[in-house]
Subunit: 257 residues, 2 copies
DNA sequence: CGAATAGTGTCTCTCAGACAATATTGC
DNA sequence: GCAATATTGTCTGAGAGACACTATTCG
């Protein structure tokens, strides 16, 4: 904010009455998504106070008077879910402010979408209230508090779209991961099976998406050839993009024998 | 919001004190974009009150206590710019809420991005203050009030991305338009020249993007063959997408003689 | 006719999806 | 060997960009 205060402005500000505008409260909510056991899941908390006491809700809370929105979201994330911002992807999801979405008063919620790897102890909330990972497909929209069903739906839709043209899918993986693990992220978020061979070719071919570590993973309990390990590259946009199959498929791509 | 009020909740709400949370004000701002004479332009107003009196700003205003955010944005759009929502595309752009972005008090702004055709009299603002179309490239970021430079930048970037995968570019055109007019929209928003022949093939080939009217336009002042008229189709997603050229072009697509 | 715009067609290269085939590992 | 996963390669068709060519209008 540059320096363009003059005397009349100073006087104006001194006389300014904040109650001249309708009072709002502002909250941040966190849509924390992860992939556990091949299933896209969201972290939900049980509300311990009214309104919606006892119901499931997204973690979140009121923004303090001098608190930046992004900082407030990261704060809630770290305090209530135990996820460190450094391992996660965080982005603002929009603003939800229907009158009546909170029975207490007029509240505008600014939800944040977070992607995190499946961490060992993400349930270590400071709020001492019950938290749990719930598969997104198992969430009953009518049982969520406030308008959190709509917020969650917006977050999941955004996640599905983002995986197409940005490399954020790696945020669901640990620092080093295999192509197979990355593929299971895409399959879980999109809810469709993908051809491992084409997926391998596309991800390793996309500019700056993945950087080979040079080592191999140890095979899982079912055996199989060890896979090469990768880290995320420095690309911010995926080129070529990873297009979702099935969606708006016009016609006869490829052959079908 | 279903019926899960019980007695203790009713009591809780009756005793609730709204001043328990930091007081915020909420505004909606309108990033109204159009293409005039081949140039992407934004509608700006001159502020007639403090703060930032006399400086350029996006049109907007405080949200009333019982006003829906979307409705508030459409209201400001129609009142301050004279654009009817029916001819425009309106979408929420996010939330901007840095402490200090408004010197009066803590204000969270929810900007809305609007695409409208180049209307004959869009300057008929009810607020009686001076409004003008300014080419986006000619906007001096430091001269805008509040954080409106960042809001405008976010809006323009969103517009550029949306033209790729959604058919919203037609919102910049009148009800009936030619492929050439649509192409000039893409060229203005993206800031790059496009091959008219490839553009024609791609737009008419994209599923549900355009519906031919069956009539031809009258040629412009420079003559030329009359062009077929089209209306927007019912597609919500563009398939195949209209990819921006130049951006992350890896390598040698096509040949170069 | 020349300038300007509209529209069609052709060519080549990239990329997507369908699979075949091979490589490694655990059991 | 067999099951399971990883990786490479091959084929076909869709689609992008470069650009030749034709069509139609105005002056």
């Amino acid at each position: 904010m540059p320096s363009h205060r003059d005397e009349s402005e100073t006087a104006f500000l001194r006389a300014y009455d904040p109650s001249a505008h309708p009072p709002f409260a502002v909250t941040v909510d966190v849509v924390l998504l992860t992939v556990r056991e091949g299933v896209l899941s969201v972290l939900l908390v049980e509300r311990e106070t009214h309104p919606f006491r006892g119901q499931l809700a997204l973690p979140g809370g009121f923004v303090q008077a001098d608190e930046d929105l992004d900082a407030a979201a990261v704060h809630r994330l770290e305090q209530e879910t135990g996820v460190r911002r450094s391992v996660a992807h965080v982005e603002q999801l929009g603003a939800f402010g229907d009158p009546g979405r909170d029975p207490r008063m007029r509240v505008v919620s600014v939800p944040y979408l977070v992607f995190a790897p499946d961490l060992p102890a993400p349930t270590a909330g400071a709020g001492a209230r019950w938290v749990a990972w719930v598969p997104v497909r198992a969430v009953e929209p009518d049982r969520l508090a406030f308008d959190h069903a709509a917020v969650l739906a917006a977050g999941v839709e955004r996640a599905r779209a983002k995986l197409e043209y940005s490399p954020v899918a790696t945020a669901f993986c640990r620092e080093e991961f295999t192509i197979g693990e990355l593929r299971r992220v895409y399959e879980a978020v999109w809810g469709v099976p993908l051809d491992p061979r084409n997926f391998h070719r596309k991800t390793t071919g996309a500019d700056g998406f993945l950087v080979p570590v040079g080592r191999d993973s140890i095979p899982g309990p079912e055996g199989g050839r060890p896979a090469a390990l990768y880290q995320r590259g420095d690309a911010t946009l995926l080129h070529p993009a990873m297009l979702r199959p099935g969606a708006p498929d016009t016609g006869t791509a490829g052959r079908r024998r």
